[in-house]
Amino acid sequence: MEPMRRTTILVALALASASALASDDHGHHFGRQVRFVGIHPIPRAEGGGMCNIEGPHVHIYAANKLEYRDHGGDWYFVGDPVAYKYDGPKYAYKGPHPIHVEAVVGGDPDVEYCYLEGPHFHYFQPEGPDFKMAGDAYFYVGEPPQAFLEARPMYVGINASYKPLVYTRPVVEVEPPSAWIGLRAEFVTPSVVVAAPAVEVITPGVVVVDKHGRGRGHGAVIVGGGAVIGAGVDVHVVAPPPPSISIGVGVGVGVSGGAVIRGGGGGHHGRH
């Protein structure tokens, strides 16, 4: 199975399992109805794309736990709509931030939280002095409420879900404001480590020869990302044919990606 397809299936499975959670205990509906408010993605099984209904409405499919929050009994989408081919007005953000849902879709006052850590879009602008704009993106610089911190482990998995999604994210290259939430220890420490694309470089016949001319490692050297080859060791690459490079994308919890350079005598997969 090609990696991209596999990744898509993994993401779909992750969101589907989250859907089951989100559809439970959400009353005030009739039959199979699920209540939504605001625009949101349509599951691929239901045709995909975006649902453009801005006010309260119902569907007969579930919301998922990572991308939706309960706003007065309606599911409200807090993810990046551009990831789902939304092409309306959009505003760039970087890092996690609160959302005043009532300012977007009405209803009772309700603050929910977006946990997307990198640059992303929403279809609404933030309000208040707790946001600073830099490089055409909004940065949250307020003091995060306790609820924001406490709920993070439950929702931070959204980053793993979005990592493999291919779409045009905002490019934010400016230095963040000093009070940006992304610089706070609570938001720097990852709760979930997202696998980065793994690059495997397979090189046969790499021989490490020490200063006495002895070969090591049965003709193999394993170099990981950030590995240091000690001084006094000569490295000779013996007649290397063109290396084959395969790039895979993985999604997982607690697994990081890295470069794996595999010698002819063996290989090594692991963290780097």
Partner: protein, 122 residues
């Protein structure tokens, strides 16, 4: 006797003009906004309200009910959602009108028409 009948007739016309007028304005706004409403006919014995009209807009089933007050209209929202049933739909209040719409034929996969039904309402 004749005078009493006349008063009753005027009162009845007045009531009809209230709900019907707002409903007519709503349907005219939909047409002006590029939607294609069918003729709307009285929906007798509707569980949503006593003064309801049913029709279609761009192949979506639509029920428009008129109430004496906005609070009454709001109180009927759940009945409107029940009328929608197991499909994509809305039941939203605009003034004293309740607009319920159900996409039973899956004619509006992205909800664009459903959204316009509310956004175009005066």
């Amino acid at each position: 006797m004749r005078r009493a009948l006349l008063i009753l007739l005027v009162a009845a016309c007045g009531k009809g003009a209230g709900g019907g007028g707002a409903r007519d304005e709503l349907i005219a706004a939909w047409t002006k906004g590029g939607l294609a409403p069918s003729a709307f006919t009285a929906a007798k014995d509707s569980p949503v309200g006593k003064d309801c009209s049913a029709g279609t807009v761009n192949s979506i089933d639509v029920l428009v009910c008129s109430y004496a007050t906005a609070d009454e209209a709001k109180a009927a929202q759940d009945a409107g959602l029940k009328w929608v049933g197991d499909t994509t739909g809305i039941a939203q209040v605009k003034g004293t009108l309740l607009i319920a719409a159900a996409d039973r034929k899956k004619a509006d996969p992205t909800g664009t028409t459903l959204n316009k039904l509310v956004k175009l309402a005066p």
